[in-house]
């Protein structure tokens, strides 16, 4: 049996690894991006000079031959389910018995005038990194950069550019950073921190158009408020969407992404989709139908490997978790904590914030039963296994705070704010009752 995997990101490679664990079949990975698998989340550290590109690769070169995984560098232009083959841009045709689509995402562009000029780019691929290095190598070549879109990639791009002393203007559509996901208190704290890093944060500001110079390079952006901001680089970081254009006309059902059932199967036999490019026909719990997250990509890769190897398995991710780092502030989330405008009536919040430092914690719990729904922490590390267990056991928020010690994962010697947090919680519940 020949399993062909399009995409060598975390989903595709995890699938390949687990197929190899479970079977002896032939495995081929196709990528248009790079020969080796690298950690996409680490791209920023290459530009910042923390890591070399090689250091972002989790497996050494010998890994691929040792595990008998063939790699093809090429761009898939079309797939032909009827002949069970895919066509590459260079004219090659490659056959398969089972096909796994793990093609990831592409940065969103919303039809802004000038969005395809030189010096206008997203930050997703290795090629994006090369472009960034070409257009923004230092503050002399790039006298100002404008980053459009206040999400996880936007703040990373801003941090990257600041590491090379490039002045950054950060246009955020929302009234506060990432408040489509974060509750107000947390979002507010990140706003402050962004400004501490001398990033010119413009909240509630939309991009109207991007202006070219005589050579077709970006010269400035214009905001909807009418302000013109001269710049040499524009980062478009207003989210990503599934990278599936080459599948149109293949007969595979597409929505925003490749439509799959719980078993990550598409409408066509022996074709599966995992990771960023997959879209669940029926959303799982409160998860979004398209999950463009490292961890879910890894889980889907592992799940599809079982199915491909004959042990048909549903994708049943456990409790939601995620993490990020906003400049110097680490963020972890377990379970569900919703911001004000998407929160259901039964979801109550307890929020504690350190009076001076950038440390805070938000607990979401059911107003009636007190059951813990989720936890957000900033500047405070939590133990995944413990929180996962509490969510499974449906512990109350009060239980979680009383046993907070078991869940803390900060390095030894760090200040312990349990007492402050517990006191604040008691005061809040007293006032509420």
């Amino acid at each position: 049996m020949h399993v062909l995997i399009i995409g060598n990101g975390i989903s595709g490679v995890t699938a390949a690894r687990h197929i190899r664990k479970n079977s002896d079949c032939r495995i081929t990975l196709i990528s248009a991006e790079t020969d080796a698998f690298f950690s996409r989340t680490a791209l920023m550290y290459i530009y910042m000079g923390h890591l070399t590109f090689q250091q972002t690769q989790p497996y050494p070169e010998s890994f691929w031959s040792r595990n008998r995984m063939d790699r093809i560098r090429g761009y898939v232009t079309a797939i032909h389910p009827e002949t069970r083959s895919v066509a590459l841009a260079d004219g090659r045709e490659i056959g398969y018995d089972k096909l796994i689509l793990a093609t990831g995402s592409k940065p969103n562009k919303f039809g802004w005038p000038g969005q395809d000029l030189d010096g206008v780019q997203g930050l997703y691929s290795y090629q994006d990194l090369e472009r960034l290095e070409a257009f923004a190598p230092n503050a002399t070549a790039c006298r100002r950069a404008v980053v459009v879109g206040g999400g996880l990639i936007g703040i990373e791009l801003a941090e990257m550019l600041r590491s090379r002393d490039i002045p950054v203007t950060f246009l955020v559509r929302e009234s506060s950073f990432w408040n489509g996901v974060l509750p107000a208190g947390e979002s507010e704290m990140i706003n402050t921190h962004i400004r501490e890093h001398h990033i010119d944060l413009r909240l509630g500001t939309n991009l109207k158009e991007i202006l070219p110079d005589a050579n077709g390079r970006v010269r400035a952006v214009v905001t909807e408020q009418g302000e013109t901001i001269p710049c040499n680089l524009v980062g478009l970081t207003a989210g990503v969407s599934p990278n599936i254009d080459f599948l149109r006309g293949s007969g595979i059902n597409l929505g925003k992404g490749v439509l799959v059932n719980r078993y990550l199967e598409t409408n066509l036999p022996d074709i599966y989709a995992v990771g960023d490019c997959a879209q669940q026909r029926e959303p799982i719990g409160r998860r979004r139908p398209v999950e463009a997250v490292w961890y879910t990509g890894r889980m889907m890769g592992e799940t599809v490997a079982r199915t491909v190897c004959g042990q048909r398995t549903a994708y049943t991710p456990g409790h939601w978790f995620n993490s990020a780092k906003f400049l110097d502030i680490e963020y972890q989330t377990y379970g569900w904590v919703f911001p004000e405008h998407t929160r259901e009536a039964h979801e109550a919040h307890f929020h504690w914030r350190h009076p001076k430092k950038h440390i805070c914690l938000t607990l979401a719990y059911d107003r009636g039963s007190g059951t813990l729904l989720g936890v957000n922490t900033f500047g405070m590390r939590m133990r995944h296994a413990v929180l996962d267990q509490w969510l499974t056991e449906q512990r109350t928020a009060e239980y979680a705070l009383t046993h907070l010690r078991e869940a803390l994962f900060d390095p030894e010697g760090y200040s312990d704010y349990r007492k402050h947090i517990q006191t604040a919680f008691r005061q809040q519940t007293l006032t509420a009752s």
Binding site: I10, N22, S39, T41, A42, Y45, I46, M48, G49, H50, L51, T52, F53, Q55, T56, P58, L129, E130, E133, A134, F135, P137, N138, A139, T140, A141, S163, D165, H193, E196, H197, Y295, M299, E302, T303, R306, Q311, T316, P317, G318, F321, S323, A324, K325, L327, D328, E330, Q332, R381, M382, R383, H384, A385, F409, D410, P411, E412, G413, Y414, S415
Partner: protein, 525 residues
């Protein structure tokens, strides 16, 4: 290797004004030392020495101020791979050659530093005479000069390190600890003890055998015994350090209590060596070499010390409390006990090659001891003990730990000696692997495989390989510096002491989907 992908010019590497001024001050201090080395006499050496040392200290502190002030606290490894000095560029090679040259002169040609046998010192060493006299009452030696500069480096770069990691309390405490132990135990206390009791051997109490491979040589043991209760207490402390204190502390805290909190070699690596920590080799080849070399050094030092002590012990109790026969039997019994315990209780944990290594080495030691009983010469084992001692002192004590270990900081990273050569680290490492509560816990499924932990591990451990599988890191070589945990952007790693049960775990559950999936994976193995 071209670390930068740049097509249109590189990232900024220029130093700011404060940094440039500080570099000037620091080099001015070094220049005074250089002038002294080349024989320029200074009218008031004490004053000039103080000026030179304070200029160097001020230079380092000022440089740190320029580098880290004005930024919020956090991980600042920006440009590490773009700077010539920290990315094996021309400056790195230059510094490496300079340091190596210094060590060669220090160990083999101290006369060029101004050391004069049977007469007043000249040059650099003479410049340090006033400080030495103030502390111990004696003129300086090349070792005093080295000790003073070494301490200065740990203090100055320790301050820089603290500034860099000021948001991290573990790093703060650990660095204050190595600064304290260097200043007090390695530098001041032995000098002051020499003033109070000149006949006691110079003893840095935290320098434990086998790192301190000469601790039980004849002249030292005689001096200890000759100095009554205090000397005897020090001798017993030396034995107890190796046999009792070290194993107990390592059981509770891992080898980090020594290697990154107390030890002088570790102290220098963690402070002055910090800018080079990412240069350690992470390949599995390096790991293989590491295991062979470090345990060979350990065997070497055990044989050498046994031989040296054997050579001055008498056949009976007339000269020392211990006879040569008892010594050999004692060493044999101790090693056999350790060996038997490992084989009985930790067999499954050892990888195959480590087990073979253990068997081979213990066989050699026992065979050599047996050989002695069967032979009737003045030789111990196969060699003259003095030859063994001299070879060890030259190859391991000087060339490995000094010239290569520190001289090559800018090329091979800061822990070459600790990783490949230190017999103390070898003993502590074996114990850390087999009998200790210490581990680095991996936080469930939060790893994003970015590679920061592996890159900044000074011991060359591929931390990510464990973290991305959700496995705890239990490795003999880990010195517990905590930098992997500090640079992790997702809060995945934590240094912990905990129960031995489930220390080496496989928490696959959180990596993948639900528990039932993982039951399946469990069955696969």
């Amino acid at each position: 290797m071209n670390p930068s992908l740049s097509l249109a010019g590189g990232p900024p590497s220029a130093l700011n004004r404060i940094q440039r001024l500080s570099l000037f001050l620091g080099f001015a201090g070094l220049f005074i030392l250089l002038l002294a080395t080349f024989g320029i006499g200074f009218p008031k050496p004490g004053l000039w020495l103080a000026l030179a040392l304070f200029l160097i200290l001020g230079g380092v502190l000022g440089y740190s101020l320029g580098a880290y002030s004005g930024h919020p606290a956090g991980i600042r490894n920006n440009g590490v791979w773009f700077k010539s000095l920290s990315a094996r560029g021309i400056w790195a090679w230059g510094l490496g050659i300079l340091l190596t040259g210094f060590y060669v002169v220090l160990y083999f040609y101290p006369q060029y530093l101004g050391l004069v046998q049977d007469g007043p010192n000249r040059g650099l060493i003479a410049l340090f005479d006033p400080l030495s006299r103030a502390l111990s009452g004696n003129p300086a030696s090349q070792w005093f000069v080295y000790g003073a500069l070494y301490t200065l480096a740990i203090l100055a770069f320790g301050a820089k390190f603290i500034w860099k990691y000021r948001h991290n309390r573990y790093q703060l405490l650990r660095t204050l600890s190595v600064m304290f132990f260097q200043l007090a135990f390695a530098f001041l206390i032995p000098e002051i003890m020499a003033r109070l009791n000149g006949d006691l051997p110079y003893y840095d109490l935290k320098n434990i055998w086998p790192l301190n491979y000469y601790n039980f040589e004849r002249y030292r043991v005689n001096a200890f015994i000759g100095e009554g209760n205090l000397g005897l207490a020090m001798l017993l402390f030396g034995v107890a350090s190796t046999l009792v204190i070290t194993p107990v502390l390592t059981y509770f805290y891992g080898k980090r209590w020594y290697c990154s909190w107390v030890c002088g070699c570790g102290g220098l690596a963690e402070t002055a060596g910090d800018p080079f920590r990412h240069l350690s080799d992470k390949s599995t080849f390096a790991w293989r070499v590491e295991r062979w070399v470090i345990y060979s050094v350990l065997v070497f030092v055990v044989l050498m010390t046994t031989a040296v002590v054997y050579s001055y012990l008498g056949p009976d109790h007339s000269r020392y409390w211990l006879s040569r026969g008892e010594l050999l039997v004692g060493v044999g019994v101790l090693l056999t006990l350790v060996f038997a315990w490992v084989m009985l209780f930790r067999r499954k944990e050892l990888q195959k090659d480590a087990r073979y290594g253990a068997i081979a080495y213990f066989t050699i030691i026992l065979a050599l001891i047996g050989f002695h009983y069967l032979s009737d010469t003045q030789h111990v084992f196969l060699f003259r003990s003095e030859t063994l001692r001299k070879t060890y002192s030259l190859l391991i004590g000087s060339i490995f730990s000094g010239v290569i270990g520190t001289g090559f900081y800018p090329i091979f990273g800061s822990r070459v000696w600790c990783r490949f050569g230190c017999p103390m680290a070898a003993i502590l490492g074996l114990q850390q692997r087999l009998l200790s509560r210490f581990r680095i816990t991996t936080n469930g499924g939060q790893c994003i495989s970015c590679g920061n932990c592996s890159a900044y591990c000074e011991m060359g451990i591929d931390v990510r390989a464990y973290a991305q599988k959700g496995r705890n890191i239990v490795r003999a070589s880990c010195v517990g510096c905590g930098i992997c945990s500090a640079v992790c952007p997702r809060g995945v790693l934590r240094l912990e002491n905990g129960p031995l049960q489930n220390r080496i775990n496989h928490r696959d559950m959180l990596l993948g989907a639900e528990v039932d999936l993982m039951d399946f994976v469990g069955e696969e193995k």
